[in-house]
Amino acid sequence: MNDIQKNLLKQVTELHEVPTGAYNIRANGESAGRRTTANIDIVTKTDKPGIDIIIKPGTKNESVHIPVLLSESGLKELIYNDFYIGEDADVTIVAGCGIHNGGDADAEHSGIHRFVLGKGAKVHYVEKHYGEGDGNGQRLMNPTTVIEQAEDSHMELDTTQIKGVDSTKRVTTARLAAGASLVIREKLMTHGKQYAETDFTVDMDGEDCSANVISRSVARDESHQIFRSAINGNNRCAGHTECDAIIMDKATVVAIPEITANHIDASLIHEAAIGKIAGEQLIKLMTLGLTEAEAEAQIVNGFLK
């Protein structure tokens, strides 16, 4: 890996060198390293680009890192990664994509991640998107996440996109069996003329399953965000979706929460709020000695922390 790629790796995984545990690093469309463990196997797909990550039942406290790094202008790829998490496994999966585009052609990564959780499996999935480079070419990312949760499984999905991605459309769908629970936390900041669209659909099919979808975003400059979250309660279940956005400058944000109860015992809540930073918040921090710009930075950083 060169220095640009190392920096991208650091940005998306917060790691300086290759991670411990299982990993698969994809750089400019090719494999730049892979390690499997006794419990976690990584297999290259034969019918289409991408990998299968197979985690044995009962695997505990292990992690898989699968960062994707693009530093070549003009590169466009569509990858299929499938995760099979065995019964009662408890693992952390860190994915993420970093694009450095120093050229004038667009660089684009679209990943389709499918998670199949066995009974009682627990997954913490962390995904971070980052873009940099001073070329005129756009940095585009379009992640799709498909989640299938068996009985009593638990999944937490943390997705973060703070900087540098010109256009993104994120589509996430989930289907939950009885007793399964899903927590999605999205953090997003757009600036310049960026465009970010998020679309979550959760089908709560099993009895006593639950879903919590939380999005916090900041839209600056002339950027535009669309947040859509649909939660369908098809059984006795509990669902909550919350979208909280700060708008600044000339940015625009659309929030479309949607909850559908198809069962008498489905309990569903949606909350959505969009607004600029409250004047009294700025004043409070200024009375502590911060300038207006410093106060604004503290409020935004805290909000997205």
Binding site: K284, L285, M286, T287, G289, G302
Partner: protein
């Protein structure tokens, strides 16, 4: 020492121009000065003028002889003025520790931040990493607001009705906080309050009503007069 010289404050609204404060001159150099008076009399406006949130339409403000009339909120904060809001502000994402560190002007260790919270009677372990959001009660927010002022440790601390909106249970311990502050403070405390127990520890009491300074004097001079008219409606008094 803070000096207000002939400070007036006018606002324009749909009813035309109104004067909120008229020709207020006041010197604050004692350790503990209380401002009291009826609601709507201009007390909070005066506090905001001192903090720099409002600019006076007339008059001058001096801090230790330096004219700060046109200084910004940030500049005044840096010069040594702290201001505790009557209604503390909530922040999604910022924790109690974040705010106390910002107030202190540096990253505080766990123990340092805890010390400030203990001062205001909060069990630090339960609060230090909590977000200053709607999950905190009014009484808890008030105390955190006060802890921030203590952490700043400036030469002038202005508190706008610290007792407003808190339950009776929290009130007793809040008074204790101010009694202790009175003992330990290095600069001046200016506190807007209606509470007899607060007025009782003041070195100087200022009465403001209708935007005008009605009386200024020591506790012994002012307090008996205030307590004598407690609950009395001036209109009713005249009729009697």
């Amino acid at each position: 020492m803070l000096e207000l010289q002939n400070v007036s404050y006018r606002v324009s609204d749909t009813d035309g121009e109104r004067e909120i404060l008229h020709d207020v001159s006041l010197t604050i150099e004692e350790r503990f000065v209380a401002i009291t008076g009826p609601n709507g009399g201009g007390k909070s406006t005066l506090a905001k003028i001192i903090a720099g949130i409002y600019q006076p339409t007339e008059g001058r403000i001096l801090l230790d002889g330096v004219d700060i009339t046109h200084a910004s909120i940030t500049e005044r904060a840096k010069l040594g003025i702290s201001y505790a809001f009557q209604q503390p502000v909530r922040f999604k994402g910022l924790t109690v520790r974040d705010l106390i560190s910002l107030a202190a002007g540096r990253d505080l260790s766990m123990n340092e931040a805890c010390a400030y919270l203990s001062e205001v009677g909060l069990c630090a372990r339960d609060y230090i990493n909590r977000e200053v959001n709607a999950s905190l009660s009014g009484g808890e927010l008030k105390r955190i607001e006060i802890a921030m002022i203590i952490a700043r440790g400036t030469k002038l601390s202005v508190f706008d009705e610290p007792e407003a909106g808190i339950d009776l249970w929290s009130f007793g311990s809040l008074i204790t906080v101010f009694e202790k502050l009175h003992e330990t403070v290095n600069g001046s405390i200016l506190i807007i309050s209606h509470q007899e127990r607060i007025l009782n520890i003041a070195d100087k009491i200022v009465v403001i009503a209708g935007g005008v300074l009605q009386a200024v004097g020591s506790r012994e001079e002012i307090l008996p007069g205030l307590l004598g008219q407690s609950g009395a409606c001036p209109v009713l008094k005249q009729k009697m």
